[in-house]
Amino acid sequence: MSEVLNFHFNVDGNDFTSAGQASIQIKKNLRRLGLDPETIRRVSIAMYEGEINMVIHAHGGEADVNVYEDRIEIILKDNGPGIENIEQAMQEGFSTAHDQIRSLGFGAGMGLPNMKRYTDDMKIESVVGVGTTVTMCVNL
């Protein structure tokens, strides 16, 4: 009884206007599975922050959501520039977003802290010049 449901998305790094499509689709899928609204909200916001980060900071990437019986796992993988200092990136208010991105309302440096707060477990693996993988887990 450990069937896994997998949802896979390619996140386009060039299209700012459609950023968030994967997270909105996941929200719909989880609703259809009948999960409680608060869990859905946590998963979809955490995923959106990660998805937007891949678009803004890493030219896009791939997203996988695995639904297990007892938890939901979100894996965001990109081949972007990587994060030099993860501890610093995790701090509220730290951002390297440039002005054009800020004018859209991003760049508060709250994305990674939100992802940590809305999930039960979060792990960042990053190599400068190679890419970043963020794995998040929400218990059901």
Partner: protein, 108 residues
């Protein structure tokens, strides 16, 4: 109070209202999107002066009951039709965020 009730107040203009029965339980004011996603609560009215397409995704994921554009901020048609399609209520007001919040506080 529902979003429909709010729309009856002459200070608030409906830009699109696909989900008029959404309940309103409070207000969150903010323009930084990650800040809003971290702090806004389910069924809040989100008052902002941001009006780009990402506002629709943030409103949808945060599950706010409506977006209220302060200072008569306007929306592109493309953003408006996306909101309609995604079931996001959007109202606007000539008031500042501060005055709009006071008005809402008297209504909730």
């Amino acid at each position: 109070m529902t979003v429909y009730d709010l729309s009856k107040n002459s200070q608030f203009n409906v830009l699109t209202m696909p989900e008029p029965e959404r309940e309103i339980n409070g207000v969150y004011i903010g323009d930084l999107l990650s800040w809003v996603m971290g702090k806004a609560q389910y069924d809040n009215v989100w008052i902002t002066i941001m009006s780009n397409i990402n506002v629709i995704a943030v409103a949808s994921l945060s599950d706010v009951s409506c977006v209220l554009l302060a200072e008569d901020v306007t929306l592109d048609n493309e953003v408006l039709s996306t909101a309609k399609q995604k079931g996001i209520n959007i109202l606007s007001t000539p008031m500042s965020a501060y005055d709009a919040a006071i008005e809402l506080s008297g209504m909730i």
